[in-house]
C-alpha cells in the first residue's frame, strides 16, 4: 500500500473549471450565438442567399469580413443565418425525444414487468437501426428539410433518454424517501411527479446538452450529404458540402462553418459540465 502523491497533472487540473465557471462560460458562448442568430438581419445587410456573381470567392476584406463564396454570397452572413437553422433544429430535435423518452423511462422503470420488458425490446431494436439509412428513407418519403430531420432524430433519439431515466428510476425507487412517500399514502401519480421525477430528470437534462450537440452534428452531416435543409438556404452543413471544392484556395468557406459547430459543441458541453457539478452537489 503505497502512499500517493498527486504530481504533474497541473494543466489538466487547471483546466478543471469550477462548476460556475463552466456553466457561465457555456451560457455566454451559447447566448452570444443565439443573439447573433436572432439578430442576424440587424447585424448584416447582406442577403444570405442573394447571389452576386461579380464578387465570387473574394478573400476576407473590410466589406466581407469572411469573404464570399462561389456564388458571391457573404460568408459571415450565411454563417449567422445558418446559426438560426442549426440551433433551432438542434433544440427542437432534442425536445421531442426528451419528452417521449423521459416519460417512457419513468413509467417503464417504475412499473417494471411486462411493460418494461416490451419497452426495452423496442429500445434495443431502435438502437440496432442505422440512423442515416432511416434518415435517407424518410427524406424520400417526407422530402428534405427540417421536418424530415426532426422526425428522423426523434425516432431514434428518445431511446437514450428512456434508458437514462429508467436507470435512474430503478435506483430512486429503492431509496428510502420514496418508500416514505409510499408509506404516507400518497398516490403513485403524485409520488412519480413530485418525488421521483425531479430527482431523475437531472440526468436527462445533462444528457440533453450533449444531445443537442449530437443533433447539430446530425443536421450538419445530413446537410453535408445533401439530405438536410435544401440549398440555397444557409446552413452550416450544406455550407461545408458546397464549399469543400474550394478548400485549397478559399479554405475558409468550408472550414469556418465546421469551426462554428465545434464552438457550439464546446459551449454546450461546458453548460452540461457545469450542470453536472451544480446538480450533483
Amino acid at each position: 500500500m503505497k502512499s500517493q502523491r498527486f504530481e504533474g497533472k497541473g494543466i489538466v487540473k487547471r483546466l478543471n473549471f469550477s462548476a460556475n465557471t463552466a456553466l457561465y462560460s457555456g451560457i455566454i458562448i451559447i447566448g452570444l450565438l443565439a443573439i447573433v442568430a436572432i439578430a442576424a438581419p440587424l447585424l448584416s445587410h447582406y442577403d444570405p442567399i442573394g447571389q452576386d456573381l461579380e464578387n465570387t470567392l473574394i478573400a476576407p476584406t473590410r466589406h466581407h469580413l469572411l469573404g464570399t463564396d462561389q456564388l458571391g454570397r457573404d460568408v459571415l452572413t450565411r454563417l449567422m443565418y445558418g446559426a438560426r437553422i442549426d440551433l433551432t433544429i438542434g433544440i427542437l430535435a432534442v425536445l421531442l425525444p426528451f419528452i417521449i423518452g423521459t416519460t417512457l423511462g419513468l413509467i417503464s422503470g417504475w412499473r417494471g414487468g411486462l411493460f418494461d420488458t416490451l419497452v426495452m425490446r423496442v429500445v434495443d431494436t431502435t438502437i440496432a437501426f442505422p440512423f442515416y439509412v432511416m434518415a435517407i428513407a424518410l427524406v424520400f418519403v417526407v422530402g428534405a428539410g427540417p421536418k424530415a430531420i426532426i422526425i428522423a432524430i426523434s425516432l431514434v433519439g428518445w431511446v437514450a433518454y428512456c434508458r437514462i431515466v429508467r436507470a435512474a428510476v430503478l435506483v430512486a425507487k429503492e431509496l428510502d424517501y420514496v418508500h416514505a412517500a409510499k408509506l404516507s399514502g400518497l398516490p403513485t401519480s403524485r409520488i412519480l411527479r413530485k418525488h421521483v421525477l425531479p430527482n431523475v430528470i437531472t440526468q436527462a437534462i445533462i444528457f440533453s446538452m450533449s444531445d443537442i450537440v449530437l443533433s447539430i452534428l446530425a443536421i450538419v452531416s445530413l446537410g453535408y450529404l445533401g439530405l438536410g435543409v435544401p440549398i440555397p438556404t444557409a446552413e452550416w452543413g450544406s455550407m461545408i458540402q458546397e464549399g469543400q471544392a474550394y478548400i485549397l484556395q478559399q479554405w475558409w468557406i468550408p472550414t469556418i462553418p465546421g469551426v462554428m459547430v465545434v464552438i457550439t459543441g464546446f459551449g454546450l458541453s461546458l453548460i452540461g459540465d457545469g450542470l453536472v457539478k451544480r446538480l450533483n452537489k
Binding site: 431509496l175 428510502d176 418508500h179 416514505a180 409510499k182 408509506l183 404516507s184 399514502g185 413530485k194 430527482n199
Partner: protein, 322 residues
C-alpha cells in the same frame, strides 16, 4: 393487560428470484427465499419492543412488512384487533409509520422540509391551508429543530438533524405505532443517544408504541420493555427485556449476548462463537441454528422448534433442548 395494537400471526415474507423466459417456458419454479418465515409477534400498547439479530436474520424485512411497505406472503396481520390485508386504507397507513436508517437517502433532496410536511398534512386533511403552517412549526418544535428548518433543503442538515426531520415526517401522520428501522445506526455515537432519547420522550408524550430494530444490542437494552431475537427469519426468543438479558434461554441468544463487548471492568472476551453467519435458504431440515449450536442433538435435525413458554409467562424460546 394492555391491549395489543399490532399483532402478526405466522407472518411470512418471501422474495422471489428473477426468472428467465426460458425458465418460465420450462415450468421451473423461481427461487423463493423466505426472509421472514412464520413470525408471531404482539405489540402491547405503549410498549417498546426491541428486535435484534444479525445480518440476514430478517428483522428489517419484518419491520417493512409490518409497516406495509412489503406485501406479506403468508400469515396474517391485525391492527387494533382488525385484520388488515396487503392493500391498506389511508387510515391504516397512517397508523403505522417508519423511521429509516440512512439519513442521507430518507429525505427527498429536491424538496424543502416544510413543503414535504405540508404535502402530507394537506393530503390527509390533517390541516387546511390556514393551519398547515402552524402545524409544521409544532412538528419542528416536537423534534427539537428551529422553525427556520422548514425553509431549508435536507442537504443543509447533519445526520442527526435529518433523522429528526424523518421523525417529524412520521409524526405528521399522527401514527399510533412507530417502527424504527436501525434509526440510529448510521449516526455518530454521540448523536445516537440524543435521537434515542428523543424517540423515548415522544413515545411517552404521544402515547405511541414502538418497534426498535437494531443490531446494537447495548442500545436496545436501554430502550426496550420487551425484546425479540431473530435468526434466519424466525423469532427464536422473546420476552421482557430484563428476563431475556438476565436469563437467556436459546443457545443463539446466549451466543449473541455473550459476544457483545461489556463495559464492566475486568471483562474479557468469552469463548468465541463458531462458524459464519449463514445465508437464508429456501428450506431447512429441522432447526435452523444446528450448524452453530453448541447443544445440538440428533433430534434437532428433524424437528423445527416452535416458541415455548419458559418459566414465567413473559418469556418464550424456540429450542427443544431446554
Amino acid at each position: 393487560m394492555s391491549e395489543i395494537v399490532l399483532s402478526a400471526t405466522n407472518l411470512s415474507k418471501h422474495f422471489v428470484g428473477k426468472q428467465s423466459v426460458i425458465g418460465k417456458i420450462r415450468g421451473k419454479e423461481p427461487l423463493s427465499v423466505p426472509a421472514v418465515d412464520g413470525v408471531d409477534l404482539s405489540m402491547p400498547a405503549g410498549s417498546t419492543i426491541g428486535l435484534v439479530g444479525e445480518s440476514g436474520c430478517g428483522k428489517s424485512t419484518l419491520g417493512r412488512t409490518l409497516v406495509g411497505l412489503y406485501p406479506s406472503s403468508g400469515g396474517s396481520l391485525s391492527l387494533f384487533d382488525r385484520q388488515i390485508g396487503n392493500d391498506r386504507s389511508l387510515e391504516e397507513r397512517r397508523a403505522v409509520q417508519m423511521i429509516f436508517q440512512d439519513p442521507y437517502s430518507s429525505l427527498n433532496p429536491r424538496m424543502k422540509v416544510g413543503d414535504m410536511l405540508e404535502e402530507i398534512l394537506l393530503f390527509h386533511k390533517l390541516a387546511d391551508k390556514e393551519s398547515v403552517q402552524k402545524r409544521c412549526v409544532e412538528l419542528m418544535e416536537l423534534v427539537g429543530l428551529p422553525v427556520t428548518a422548514l425553509q431549508a433543503y435536507p442537504r443543509q442538515f447533519s445526520g442527526g438533524q435529518r433523522q429528526r426531520i424523518g421523525i417529524a415526517r412520521a409524526l405528521a401522520l399522527e401514527p399510533k405505532i412507530l417502527i424504527a428501522d436501525e434509526a440510529v445506526s448510521a449516526l455518530d455515537v454521540s448523536v445516537q443517544a440524543s435521537i434515542v432519547n428523543l424517540l423515548q420522550d415522544l413515545k411517552r408524550d404521544l402515547g405511541l408504541t414502538m418497534l426498535f430494530i437494531s443490531h446494537n444490542i447495548a442500545i436496545v437494552r436501554q430502550v426496550s420493555d420487551r425484546i425479540a431475537v431473530m435468526y434466519l427469519g424466525r423469532i427464536v426468543e422473546e420476552g421482557l427485556t430484563s428476563e431475556v438479558f438476565n436469563n437467556p434461554q436459546h443457545p443463539y441468544t446466549k451466543l449473541l449476548l455473550g459476544s457483545v463487548p461489556k463495559m464492566t471492568p475486568g471483562s474479557k472476551l468469552g469463548a468465541a462463537p463458531q462458524g459464519e453467519l449463514p445465508t437464508i435458504q429456501a428450506r431447512y431440515e429441522g432447526c435452523r441454528f444446528q450448524s452453530r449450536c453448541p447443544i445440538a442433538t440428533s433430534a434437532c435435525a428433524t424437528t423445527d422448534p416452535a416458541l415455548i413458554q419458559i418459566g414465567s409467562k413473559d418469556h418464550q424460546a424456540a429450542c427443544i433442548n431446554l
